[in-house]
Amino acid sequence: MKIGVQAVLVYDAVKPEFLDDLGPALEERNFESVWLVEHVVLFDQYKSKYPYGPDGTLPIPSDCGLLDPFVGLTYLAGRTTDLRLGTGICILGQRNPVYTAKYVADLDVLSRGRVEFGIGVGWAREEYEALQVPWEKRGKRVDDYLQVTKALWTQELSSHHGAAYDLPECRMYPKPVQKPHPAVHVGEIATRLCDALSITERAGSASSRPSGSSRSSAGSTRCSLNVAATATTSRSACPRRSSQRIGTP
């Protein structure tokens, strides 16, 4: 059993001296992977309901200062040797897929093939609105964007023509180290809103999945779970979390 840590790094934990210690501390304790969350902006108040907590509110304060996961993971790549580096999750539907494919590929190269690409559709409409990206049809958009990223990772001359994105023939290098590409893990909400995975990739990951698992592609079907944890801060704004699934907060 591989044990990973979804690290929600806030306040002073986003500083380099914390990350300098985090990576080695994870490896010393034989954790298999670290997963960084994504929220490019936070809000003092949400109309959107946070789907993973008992009261529907995001359990971190709006001024906590999350790192972009690709920036944080790139830093951690330089401080670790074996630790797998995951986005937990990347809100693919609100990002440009070409840049996202580039960040994943470059991180895979710099980390010598240690990327786990967790994707989701997000739960916060406010975040989409801040980015001026449509909230509607985000599931279908993620399906299309995922095909864009795969084209850029695997095709020498890449192109994609879909309903949400039209990518003209172009070349993106370097390609990811992992072949055919880093594993893609689909968050819980996305599994309901997206097709996201091909029929082959879905094999064994639908009705037979344990509750709370995510779907994975590029390789054997794998499941990831977040389970109750006791390690959090004592600050009341960061309450203990339980039964969180990939893609949170």
């Binding site: 044990i3 840590v5 979804q6 929600v8 499941c223 600050r235 990939i246």
Partner: protein, 36 residues
Amino acid sequence: VKRYSDLGVDRVILPLVAMKREDLEPGLDALRAITD
């Protein structure tokens, strides 16, 4: 963890909310303790 393993789950991801250096090692040790 054993129950998840029996269900065919091959990776468990545990959440850690950290805001300062002194959180780090106690937090990771606590996570490790519940999985060992």
